[in-house]
Symmetry: C2
Amino acid sequence: MDQVRVELGERSYSIHIGAGLLAKLPSLLPALSGKQVMVVTNTTIAPLYLEQVEEALSGFQLDHVILPDGEQYKTLGVLDQIFSRLLERRHNRTTTLIALGGGVIGDMTGFAAAAYQRGVDFVQIPTTLLSQVDSSVGGKTGVNHPLGKNMIGAFHQPRVVIADLATLLTLPDRELSAGLAEIIKYGLIWDAEFFEWLEHCMDRLVARDIDALAHAVRRSCEIKAEVVGKDERESSLRAILNLGHTFGHAIETAQGYGRWLHGEAVGAGMVMATELSIREGMLPESMRERVTDLSIRAGLPVKGPADMDEAIYRKLMAVDKKVLDDKIRLVLLEKLGKAVVTTNFDPTNFSATLRACT
Amino acid sequence: MDQVRVELGERSYSIHIGAGLLAKLPSLLPALSGKQVMVVTNTTIAPLYLEQVEEALSGFQLDHVILPDGEQYKTLGVLDQIFSRLLERRHNRTTTLIALGGGVIGDMTGFAAAAYQRGVDFVQIPTTLLSQVDSSVGGKTGVNHPLGKNMIGAFHQPRVVIADLATLLTLPDRELSAGLAEIIKYGLIWDAEFFEWLEHCMDRLVARDIDALAHAVRRSCEIKAEVVGKDERESSLRAILNLGHTFGHAIETAQGYGRWLHGEAVGAGMVMATELSIREGMLPESMRERVTDLSIRAGLPVKGPADMDEAIYRKLMAVDKKVLDDKIRLVLLEKLGKAVVTTNFDPTNFSATLRACT
């Protein structure tokens, strides 16, 4: 079993990574502050893992809430179902929420924990590759609004994250690919050597080789932990984690939540960010093919939806959280393994990038 | 003009107190982080003060949202109207929300600021006596849930609070009394001398003498700031500020939000807490009459609703946030000016108190 430590002062926590960890749950949980536990999961994950988790927690006042599955349910209205269940079952300030599922469950459970009685503890058990390498680190929680993704939320760190790699064996192929998009991102923005390792090992990852997955998840969590440890509230450095996300959010919003998976949209967005970096003269031309090839091997789209034109991107990207004073801020690449955040790019190159990538 | 400083490290802020401060708004605001401002107010306050506030802020991208007035609208659904307005008007992470109104507006605006894009700045302009002495200090924000009051929220400190005493001249009598309840509370839990000053000056306060109001508001804010400065997240000491609130919340929940004003319910709750403290042998018998007399002079109820019996109180108090591991925690008085939080009281005295006070 691997362990990654996220260093955030008194909010520090560990990420346990390994196959078969659900069975070892009691030994991996820190001392919980009270006797109550609420497991939040969804209709897909509950039949697979809920019983196992509940058996492991038999010493607690144990309740659960099963939400519908999908990004389109990441709303204030569905969040309210968690609050109602907590209140119906009289959970108090010492309760612990357990997020059992992917990123949507993690984000909503985390925000519910941040806001319930102004803040209770939560534990993450991410069951998708994307959530193991992304939302499990950094404490960003929240819900979507019809007018923008992740617009309502909080920074709230989990007490512990338990990433059981065995849960990845039941993951649909599309969702595996969506997770691989974020993993590729970590190589691009931070670690050229890791990117090269991915070029070498992508086929093993797609074949769900546990050792390869263990390395990819651990290294991704390490990189994200390092970035977040330096800038928890995203005042500067943390923004580089959004490579491909500003393009990606526009795709998700335009298509309606749930049609493109988040990781798929980010995958196409990373290709766009790479393209714009090349057109800006920041990145060698050779990176175009390397990023595209690796994305294709990972099963990811390398173009945006055919029905989205430049005007739609501009309109949707202007409402992104990364926008300050009406300038679109983008994460671009200076070289393989190094990202920068900038509002300073040629509008002509931006337009040409959108045309090249749709 | 008076100024009270709330010392909370990097989250410290000032409360400006005086008559006619709205006209001086620009000089009282700290440097805002961006160019956007959203004023959140309600249908009662907007016709009185919105124009004046907006004129003072003419240099900003200025928007407003006008909510229905009343505790029954302090819900997730109404909160969502603030988010929608912010997104429609493309407010970004550097926006500042301004709460112009009483406690409901302050609590909702503060929570909206805490959650919008995971946290933006806000400024409070409390226009009721209650909000000037209570919700303006300490950063508790949130909304109600049908199953419990203030169950969803965040700790989020304002950048500055501007308490214009002139706004109290248009306040309905019932709301003035509701504010006086919290003011009496500060004397009871923290400052015997201030309680005696209130016994001496209550008639001037009821007559809205500005000098008397200035002293009462300043001393109340000072006491709350001192308590909150020692325990921002209510791990221990801060809980004494809830004197009367556990009883009071039960009354509000049973009657439906909005029928009893929060301060009225707290007023009746303080009489109950005093009664129980006397029955527990902690407080001299003479305090019964002093608290009741002062409450009556302040225009406050000294009994709970006639239709609430002991079983209803027990049921509703059991879901209060102050409950830990099924024991009802109450704030009681050891002596005038000193409060304690305890789960250790005689159930017979508790029952007798409820019978005596309904």
